[in-house]
Structures are given as C-alpha cells and as structure tokens.
C-alpha cells in the first residue's frame, strides 16, 4: 500500500489569510467577533464573520485571469498557493499538480448579481458576471495560476464531500497521474446564503474562506503528516438518518488514543449538532470545533477542520487527529491523520518532547 502525505497547508478564514492566523484563533478557542449582515426587508440583520481584507494585496491578483473574479476565487487561490509552495517548482521542471475544489454553495456573489440583473432587464445582464457564476470557475482560475495542472475537478455537495475530494486526490496520486494534489474547500457569503442558512439554524453565523491541503506520495516533501484513513461515506437516507450515518462513521474510526485531538463540525446548535454529538459521545480527549470560532463556513469549514488537524500534528501538539465531517443532508465521513515519521502501531504513545522528528 502506498502512503499519502500532507506536504502543504493553506487557509483563508475570518481569522486571516494564513494557517498561522487559523492556528491562533483555534488555540484561543474564543468565537471571533460577529458582524451584522444587512438583510434587505428586515429590521434585524443576519450574522456573519467576514474574512478581513489582507494586509497586503496578494500578488496573484495581478494575474489577468483573476481580474474580474469574485472573493471565492481569491480565497481558493490564496489557500492553494500557500499549500503548494513547497511542491510547485523543482529543478527539472514544473511538477504536475492535481486540483480538486469542493464547494457547497459556490459562487453566490456573482450569481446573485447576475440573476438580479436578469430580473431587472435580461437584455442588459452583464456578460462579465455570468462566467464567474459557474461552480467550475475557482478551480479553473487556480489551474491557470499553477500552470501544470493536468487533472482538475470540482465536487459539489455538503461539507462531508470534502473527504471525497481527499480520497479522489489520493487515487490520482496512486495512479501516478499527478505528483501532488491540492484539495480545497471554498465558500463566499452574501445575505441570500445567510438567509437560507437561517431557515435551518437561527443561531448560525455565516462565514466564508477556503482551506487547502496539498497531498503527495513523496515523504520528503511531507510536513510530517500522513493521511491515515477516510471512512466510507455513510449516506443519509430513508434507510439511515443523520444520527445513524454519524454513528456508522464513528464506528469506522479507531478508538480514542493518547495525544489525539478531535476536530468536529459542531456549531453550538443543539439540533444540528445532535447527530455528531451522539456519535462522539465516547470521546473524552481534547476537541476543537472550528465552526464555533470561525462560523458556518460550509465546505470551507470542512477544509479548516482538516487543515487545523494537520497543523496540530505538524506543530507537535498531537500525534494523531480525527476529523468528523457530519454533513447536513448527504453523508457522514471521518478522516484521520497521524504523524508521518512514526509507525502506526506506535501512535498511541505521545511524542517525546513534543517536537516533530521530520
């Protein structure tokens, strides 16, 4: 069996445009400030956590392909370039990088603007907006930035499908189709999306951003983190509700070991969290819930969970991390990463000194 390693991470979130900002926010474990999101026609605003403007304008925005793009592409591109920085170039030519972008609501800002223009007067709806409404747009732009990208795919679904992106990326690597594979989750927000979310969870705080993991078979490129397993996708259906799907997912994850963390998708909503809470009722170890700190980032939040899990291992805070992706209406999937340089049988023992033997 070939091993798949994590060789780069990227994150754009309400905490900032770097993995370090994500790490700091999650380490503090305090919800970031909430901003009001004006909902036309309502007195009371909706709630959001916005990605702050970058301190310096990212250089990639000068690329001609990104001139008219919407924030989701900016987020995805920033996370992708950060995650791919160690593998993008080599002495013998550019490496082949696969790109998998996972989205739930996708390019909502330009979709809103274009449809609004269509309803006002279809004859004058802007042709500049429409191409950026397509789900495949962010992946296409990231591919153009990275250049040597033979395999590109956009997956849509609830946040659990981020795990399918990871599995597909691993397959591409094992088939030697690419040298490295970026798997991204990205979202952008507007009031209409927040309005839709409000129907299911009045307390939810919408947020946007992106997270990216760069996978490779080459341990030399690794951050010291290995993808250990991805459970089956336990589908929600008439045959199995969300609770049962989450329990089946949990049953496929290993029992809790020492020096392990759980990165779950809970969001302080008793109703929405019930399935996942029940599935992980046996978990006694440390747990981090990125959505509680950053907001409901949909697919971006799934990516933040995985990025944070890998970052916790890479920075020596734990030897293994479990990620629980209990999707809203599609499936529940668990993902587990562990420290790369140690045999799987040793993972129940904490690393000495907490430093990372690369």
């Amino acid at each position: 069996m070939s091993r798949v390693f994590v060789c780069g991470l990227g994150s754009v979130s309400p905490a900032g445009w770097t993995v370090e900002a994500l790490r700091d926010a999650l380490a503090k474990n305090e919800p970031l400030p909430i901003q009001p999101l004006t909902r036309p026609g309502w007195q009371k605003p909706l709630k959001m956590r916005l990605v702050p403007n970058p301190e310096v304008r990212p250089p990639f925005l000068a690329h001609p392909r990104l001139r008219r793009t919407s924030p989701i592409t900016h987020y995805a591109a920033a996370a992708a370039l950060d995650a791919a920085k160690f593998v993008q170039n080599d002495k013998n030519g550019r490496r082949r990088i696969g790109i998998i972008v996972c989205l739930q609501s996708g390019c909502v800002q330009f979709s809103f603007r274009f449809f609004e223009e269509t309803l006002q007067d279809a004859a004058t709806a802007s042709p500049l907006l429409f191409p950026e409404t397509v789900f495949a747009a962010p992946a296409s732009h990231v591919a153009a930035l990275l250049d040597n990208t033979p395999s590109v795919c956009t997956l849509a679904g609830d946040p659990s499908s981020f795990s399918q992106g990871l599995a597909l990326g691993a397959d591409w690597l094992l088939e030697r189709r690419v040298d490295a594979c970026l798997v991204m989750g990205a979202e952008e927000i507007n009031w209409l999306l927040a309005d839709a979310l409000w129907h299911f969870n009045h307390r939810a705080v919408i947020s946007g951003g992106a997270g990216a993991l760069c996978l490779s078979l080459n341990q030399d490129w690794s951050l010291g983190v290995e993808l250990e397993l991805i459970t089956d996708a336990q589908s929600c259906s008439r045959l199995a509700n969300r609770s049962l799907a989450a329990k089946k997912m949990r049953a496929q994850m290993p029992p809790e070991g020492r020096s392990e963390f759980l990165f779950d998708s809970m969001n302080d909503s008793p109703r929405a969290d019930a399935a996942e809470s029940g599935a992980w009722a046996d978990w006694r170890g440390p747990r981090i819930s990125p959505k509680r700190v950053l907001g409901e980032g949909l697919m971006a939040a799934a990516a933040w969970q995985c990025v944070a899990a890998c970052d916790w291992i890479a920075s020596g805070k734990c030897v293994a991390a479990n990620v629980s992706l209990a999707g809203q209406n599609q499936q529940a999937v668990g993902v587990r990463f562990h420290r790369a340089s140690r045999a799987i049988s040793d993972l129940s023992q904490p690393a000495k000194g907490g430093s990372l033997p690369l």
Binding site: M1, P40, G41, F112, F114, F115, A122, A123, P131, D232
Partner: protein
C-alpha cells in the same frame, strides 16, 4: 474505507453498461429518443417556463414533461418538492434501473454530473426572498432541494437504494466526467457497480447567461457549419448503470455496451474559450484512446461536443483532425446538440447514451441543418440519416473552465 483501499486490480476489470435511461426534448426514454436521433429530428420550441421576452433568442430544447411524474413511494407533498431537473433525473434513472434488473442495496455508489442542480428552485428562493422578505413559506424546502445531493438522494430513495453520492460540477463536461469517474471507481476495485449520469434543466439564469455572452444562435444550431452562429440551449438527463463484466455475467444481465476508455484534460487558455488549436481537446481524445487501447482507425463514429459556437467548433475540428490523422477523411462525425440543444451538465451523459444507441442499432445520428462545412473540418459530418456498422464510438464533452472529457464505448455482441 474510501482510503486506504484495496490495491487497484491488475488488470482492471472490464466495465459494461446494463441499463440506460434518457430524457430530452426529443422524447422520454430510449425508444422515442432513438427514433428522433436516427432521423435527425430537432426538439426546439419557444421557451414557456420563464420569461424570455427581453432575450435575443426565445427558443430552446424544452422537455415536454408528463403531467403525471413517474411513480414513487413518496407522498404528494414530497413529490411537489422536485423541480424539473429532479423529475428528469428520476425518469432517466428509473428507466436505467428497470433495464438493469438491479436489486436495491444500501451501498450503491451514485456519481452524477450537473452544473446547476435544482437551479429553478434557487431562482424561486431568490424571487421570494427579495419580493416578500417576511414570507418564509416553501423557502426551507427550496434551499434544501436546490442542492444536487438532495436530488440524488431523492432519486436513490425513490428506487429504494442508498449509497455514497458524488456530484461533479465541471460545467458542460460534468456528465461525461461523472461517467468517467464511475468507470474509474469500478476499475480501481472500489465497487462492482455504480449508477451514473448527468442532468440539467433549463433555468432563467443559465439561459440569460448564454444569451448575455451572445452564444445563443438567433437562427439554427448548426455545429461545424461554416455559417454557424451559436448554440441552442436544452435540458435533459441520462443515467447509466455500470458494472463489472463479471457481475453482469453472473447475473445473466443483458449487456448494452462496454465503456472502454476515458480521458480528461485541462485547458487553461481562458475561462470560457478553448485554446484555438484545441490542444487539450486533442489530449483528452488521446488519453481516452490510450486507456481504451484503440487507435483513431478503430473508431467508427465521433459524437462531437460541437456546440455550434464559432470558437468551440473551430478548436474541436482542429483537435479531431489532429487526433484522427489519416483516418479523419473518412471519419463520420456529428453533434447531436443540433437536435437537443446543449444540455450543459446533462450533455455528456445524454451523448453517451446516443453513442450507445448507435452501437446497439447500427446507425449514425445526422445533423440535418448542416450545409457548408467549416474549412477546418477534415472529417465527414453526418448530414443525412444513415445506417452504418458502428463498433467503437467516441464522445467528446468540453466545459467552461477548461475541463475536457472523452468517453470511448464499444458495441457488445
């Protein structure tokens, strides 16, 4: 486990098609569609499902849905939650399912391609949220059923099975990518069978988008014609049941055809325009041929992406000419978008079923509106109905954003 899985089988299993379902503006089901494609019928009419009074173009390949949707175990209220795309998906899936003779299980993978899912529900959500901000009725249902994974789940529920759902959204290549991905899942040994296909319904936003880009033909959709002036939009769905040859034989299933190869490539030239030389399109065909272990000489028919836009058809003509080499002069090529319009996420899967029809029934689908070949076409455009021996067919699908996909299928005899 999705990862790690078993080692990929070597050699990979052969993958056959044991069920096919299709819905287009030409008809509902295999029989109606085969008759229409064979004769070169077109399925365009004035758009009735949304306002096109301010659009340049006012026709599309709108499907005439039956007044009674297909039978399901749902209540009337549940049935009402489906939009046009969900109904078409369900009809195509039901036809394929019945033909396959499959039994329900709780681990049957579904791999679908779509660009818009239940976009019409999203549009309704928008209208109500803007016009009546305090009225919440139906909004949660719209928000939920707008999402493609919900539609896939409803489809599975109606057929009595469950399993992991994968939704690919690579624009107009989505349907072909979905079939290719399902084919690869089986070849990787991850499953013995998968239900796959693609679908998209007409939506005001999509129609207006293509019209705003002035990509819609104000006359007739004539792919590869020197006087072509744009594409026609359509809607539809097609679903295939794929399984290993071993599984089909064990069940004594009727085998409709074999998927031999799949190739996908990336065109980074522009978000909405192909590279003028069709480099990535050619690469997708070469990769598909390599995986199918066939050469251009062995391909009997090409179902082109052939949208009818000046740029796509020129790039694809160059790509086919380069890929086919000496074979090009005698290679029959046509684009069935001349009859159905461009079905976006449904295009690749519908055109895969058209290829299957050609393989099963030994005819070629003509483009009756084709008159004057574009000088870049070194191949023969099928412009009249004709019977022909077809043992291997190739289908191209290219998408906004640059993802290209090619499928190769073989006749089963």
């Amino acid at each position: 486990m999705l990862f790690p899985g078993k080692p990929f089988p070597s050699p990979p299993p052969r993958v056959v098609i044991t069920g096919a379902g299709i819905v287009t503006s030409l008809g509902l089901g295999w029989k109606q569609n085969a008759a229409a494609f064979r004769s070169g019928k077109t399925g365009f009419r004035p758009v009735t499902i949304f306002d096109v009074s301010r659009q340049r173009v006012k026709t599309a390949g709108e499907v005439d849905l039956p007044s009674m949707p297909p039978p399901t175990p749902w209540t009337g209220r549940q049935r009402k939650r489906l939009d046009r795309s969900g109904i078409m998906l369900l009809m195509a899936a039901r036809e394929a399912w019945q033909q396959s003779g499959w039994e329900a299980s709780d681990d049957l993978p579904v791999v679908l391609g779509t660009t818009a899912g239940g976009m019409a529900l999203g549009e309704d959500y928008f209208r109500q949220a803007v016009a009546l901000p305090h009225r919440q009725r139906m909004q949660p249902t719209r928000a939920l059923h707008y999402q493609a994974q919900t539609q896939a789940g409803m489809m599975a529920d109606s057929l009595g099975f469950a399993g992991p759902v994968t939704i690919l959204s690579n624009a107009c290549a989505s349907g072909a990518n979905a079939i290719g991905e399902a084919w690869e899942m089986i070849r990787r040994g991850k499953t013995d069978r998968a239900l796959t296909g693609g679908y998209d319904a007409l939506s005001q936003m999509g129609f207006s988008g293509f019209d705003s880009l002035q990509l819609l033909s104000p006359t007739r959709c004539r792919p590869f014609d020197a006087h072509r002036d744009g594409l026609a939009i359509g809607e539809g769905a097609a679903v295939l049941t794929l399984e290993t040859l071993e599984s089909a034989r064990k069940r004594g299933a009727v085998i409709l055809g074999e998927i031999m190869g799949y190739g996908a490539s990336m065109d980074r030239h522009h978000l909405t325009q192909p590279h003028p030389d069709g480099n990535a399109a050619c690469q997708a065909m070469q990769l598909a041929c390599a995986s199918a272990r066939v050469t251009a000489e062995e391909v009997d028919y090409v179902n082109a992406h052939g949208t009818g836009t000046p740029l796509n058809d020129l790039a694809e003509a160059k790509a086919i000419s380069r890929w086919a080499g000496c074979r090009a002069a005698s290679l029959p090529v046509s684009s069935t978008k001349a009859g159905t319009g461009h079905l976006l996420g449904g295009a690749g899967s519908v055109e895969a079923v058209v290829c299957l029809m050609c393989l099963r029934e030994q005819w070629l689908p003509p483009e009756l509106a084709f008159e004057t070949p574009d000088p870049a076409c070194s191949f023969r455009i099928v412009s009249r109905p004709e019977d022909a021996p077809v043992n291997v067919a190739l289908s191209n699908s290219f998408g906004f954003g640059g993802v290209n996909a090619t499928l190769i299928m073989r006749r089963w005899s």
